[in-house]
Symmetry: D2
Subunit: 348 residues, 4 copies
């Protein structure tokens, strides 16, 4: 922690800063600059309360945090990439993992049909919402446990592991009973009690970035989960809220290499929520993989214009299947792979 003194600070002001830091039990180093002094406080982690206390002292211009606030999620403390295994899928390895499926599970036919089509097209996992957060209380909120059961049927049919969202601690047990990966949605990125609860399970967690979450805060959210003993966290960039209204969110693809540098955790991208428009999704699938993403999570629906949620951003089976071969070529161009569509296998 660095305390920057005002140019007008007195010797007494500096001494008080030093005294206060030492009262908290930390050593200090003072540097007299050309215009102003600075005081370094040594030690890690330094409590946030110390920062706030020092900010208030007379003669203090600014207090700057130097140590990172997260450790378990940090690449500095864990240099090698983390690879997370779910069934026969490895997230964070060479394969770019494609997770596809509808926003909401709506019926047995819809989810089974989608699961089969996704598998045939080269997806590795199935997504589908059973518990849905909705901005308006008047919108469809998912089939609940019935939706989970339908997802399990689709898994039984296709072998695809299931990613589904958990909305609350109360639902966690039942969701964890069915899910292979627990998804934490963008509105819950900083729902710390839920983070700790999934941190106590043995399921991998797909942690979406919140709409206004700094990358540092997102890694602290991962830290919450990891601090409970569950180190299998998959980060998911899904767009941030900005002034631009041409897209639903602004997909921040630079978050991919930023996270790769700061953390050892795998990171995937959600171009469906990231753009909100189905016709933008294929381009952003390609861009995400070129940027270094370890996977994609994409909304696909048999009839998007009859979907109960997120129809505007869902691909049709045809859209999705058409995107996959291009995606395979881009993956190859950056030294990665995607699964070969079954159709091609069959054709061999």
């Amino acid at each position: 922690m660095l305390i920057v003194m005002k140019t007008t600070a007195t010797e007494r002001d500096v001494q008080e800063v030093i005294a206060r830091a030492e009262q908290f039990g930390f050593a200090t180093r003072r540097v007299a600059g050309a215009e102003r002094s600075t005081v370094s406080v040594l030690g890690s982690p330094l409590p946030d309360a110390l920062r706030e206390a020092l900010e208030r002292l007379p003669g203090v211009e600014e207090v700057i945090r130097i140590s990172k606030r997260y450790k378990l999620a940090s690449r500095e403390f864990h240099p090698e990439d983390t690879v997370i295994r779910v069934g026969d899928v490895e997230i964070g390895g060479t394969e770019v993992v494609i997770i596809a499926g509808p926003c909401s599970v709506e019926s047995e036919e819809q989810i089974i049909e989608t699961a089969r089509a996704m598998k045939a097209a080269g997806a590795s996992m199935l997504r589908g919402g059973a518990f849905k957060p909705r901005t308006s209380p008047y919108d469809f909120r998912g089939l609940g446990v019935e939706g989970l059961q339908l997802l399990a049927k689709a898994r039984a049919e296709t072998g695809l592991p299931i990613v589904t969202e958990v909305l609350s601690v109360a639902d966690l047990d039942v969701v964890a009973e069915y899910a292979d990966v627990l998804q934490i949605g963008a509105r819950n990125t900083q729902n710390f009690l839920l983070l700790e609860a999934v941190g106590k399970t043995d399921k991998p967690v797909l942690l979406k970035r919140g709409m206004s979450t700094l990358i540092e805060e997102w890694l602290l959210a991962a830290e919450y989960i990891m601090a409970q003993g569950n180190e299998r966290v998959i980060l998911c960039e899904r767009g941030i809220r900005t002034f631009e209204t041409a897209t639903r969110n602004t997909l921040d693809l630079s978050a991919v290499p930023v996270v790769k540098r700061l953390s050892h955790l795998p990171i995937i991208v959600d171009p469906s929520h990231g753009t909100g428009k189905w016709y933008l999704v294929p381009s952003m699938m390609l861009a995400a993989v070129a940027a270094g993403a370890d996977g994609l999570i994409v909304e696909v629906h048999p009839n998007p214009d009859q979907a109960l949620s997120d129809g505007a951003q869902s691909l049709t089976f045809e859209n999705f299947s058409a995107a996959m071969p291009k995606l395979a070529r881009v993956a190859e161009a950056v030294g990665r792979t995607v699964r070969t569509p079954l159709a091609e296998l069959a054709a061999d």
Copy 2:
């Protein structure tokens, strides 16, 4: 709902839009413009799934929602101001209600001392956190139930009603047992299950705006609570996240008159989180009242430089007491009142 067709849309495209809306059961009106056609879909509420379906049809440029998505919270459907009574305090009436107290309850001495000082200075209610959401898992998270009990003691001592945050459905019963007003924090503005749970209690709810919540989404969050039968919702503007880093958040005071126009619910302002710096708080207290706020919620601590949380943005008793007479004058200037400090009463 208005469907704007592309200039290149064919007659068949327009007919398909009309057919789809009618298939959902809604009437339509078509307008042929100079460059393009539009189709109005009549009916309210129109399902979001219809909007998404229409957006996908060929020839459609854009779908624009016209009806408001909230009703119970809307002034159009409830023209008179809502006034919420808590003990002898009325929120939304002539009095500007001042809620003050520490970020976290830390000890009996701290909270009792603060409650007394706040009451003496003219506050109407006491705030204090027992369950705290913290960005880092390594920070202090509140005393929990013990904190609630200390708040109850402070209420018994001073008569000030208590505002305290509820973080999760699991804690709701115990928090509601002690609290006079349930606070929903900025990270939970769109925690829909929690909103519905507080909507089933008979306690007034102080609903903070999220860091990246549109005013429309905030009113939809209020709608979630109200749809469960609890119409006593107090909105609280607490700053939004923007590019500016000189302040912790950007306090959006224009939200006060915007909300007054759109909704009948009372709205208060939190200048402490809104700025993140104690020395900016007094100016923004005055500005909020001048803007028409029905109240303020302000962090005050006996020794902010030893606070366990939010020390940098907490006022001292002296800061707070010094701000109150100015606040009374500004309130009077806009036809409102604040409570007379007890000291002045005693001096009579």
Copy 3:
């Protein structure tokens, strides 16, 4: 400047940082922390190129600027408030200066009538655009020199000094011939050549904050003007661009006390552009004055629904006159004054 080393940095990395800073001619101090070393570079001002050079060296995590980048605009180097005199008006003194008038000068009748009404209602200066920046090339762009001449007539009639925008260096001479205060609009806050050009005139400059300008960048823009010898800069907060769409911009009133702390320059507020809606303007006028603004600049038009620009955010004469007495009371409440409306004088 503080160089934060990675936890994995080697001794050689640290030595290279020190060597590079010394090669630029600056002394250094090294502090070995608990987890990582830091190196302070002493001297001021430190070139930006040094910061960028150091950021690239191996083992460097981050480079943090400590010295302020502006001096002439800084309160640290100029503790007393600057008061700027224009005719008999003082900006930055006790009086809250009200600048009112139409977005664009449209006709002699319009501007003279407005000037008289504004003077009668208590305004101290007249605003009006002759050269207008417009987002679309198909919109009205002002009367140009004829507009300036009409403003001069209105000044001759009423004695009100004139504030008008200068869009380019090419227009500067003619605008400066007529204007009492040169306005730099939000799209030109970082038009550095224009800033330097107005810095070479002897006219006060009203410098609007850009839509996405950090307060630090805004003060650096003021520094550009002041570095040319013109220290009469009036800052004007006019709203920043955020995700919220209920208002045209988000008026950042906390910028008022932030600027007061960082700088000695006066700061005024533009609630018209700040909100974009006439019905929000009166509340924000009051809030701005309560926040400590030294003045207001407000759009007023005799018939806003026939205005050639900014009709939606312009007050009528009646709206403006109705707001002034309330404004006077709020100003008084915070120890400031506004001009007494002539009507009241006449009534004495």
Copy 4:
């Protein structure tokens, strides 16, 4: 244009809206909805002043623009892609055009050496700043005309066409004398006089998106240039300002497919300013091409740690050369090409 009436609007309110629109000379169509009426105003283009006038009328809830505000830049009115030829380079065709070079021209040796290295590595054009906008008045601002002359020497040596920024109308003639493409920087995206001035030249214009420019406003800026007769506009996405501070800006790659849909103009990407960190640039070069960009503009410097500007975001020759073969593979994967490095040709 659609006028949405309040649910409480009277018949008279609706009639007044209709009358006002007709007074401006436009026909209307009224639709009585379930809850409220709407009025469509027919005609194009509709003046902005009409929108503002209607917004003020009693009973009006909202006025929504339906027609696009730009025509020349719009794909609706010009369906085929525009391809812009500069020397032997085609921007907007199959080749992904790579423009590379230093932020600022610093010396003859620096620019010639860079031009040769860029050509050898596969770049098609050379960038370099002679007139530099700088946030602080104390930073290096370029060599001016001497810089232009050095760029011309580099072109003579290598045959690479030159892209360089023009900061003001006053400099335009001299910049146009040397430049092959005129660059409008992010701070001048809405400098309308400069846009019109470059619109009167016969040089292609590289128009950067401003830091807080909506895509619609950016296309209107292009419209300004095109309305003067110069239709050779190349759009350049370079990052927008958001709350995230881990990167200098947030590179909005979804702008690429959005612009492709709305406009026929070519669009390139600047990953250097878009991220502000050299180590993020290669990933974002790949991502931009995968997203469909028609080209890249990248900062490269022989010794970035001694650059006079933008050292932190500049690639070395080695970084750049290492990125190019990967880029070629990604381009190929999406059906595009980049120039073959000369070294490879030589090796044939």
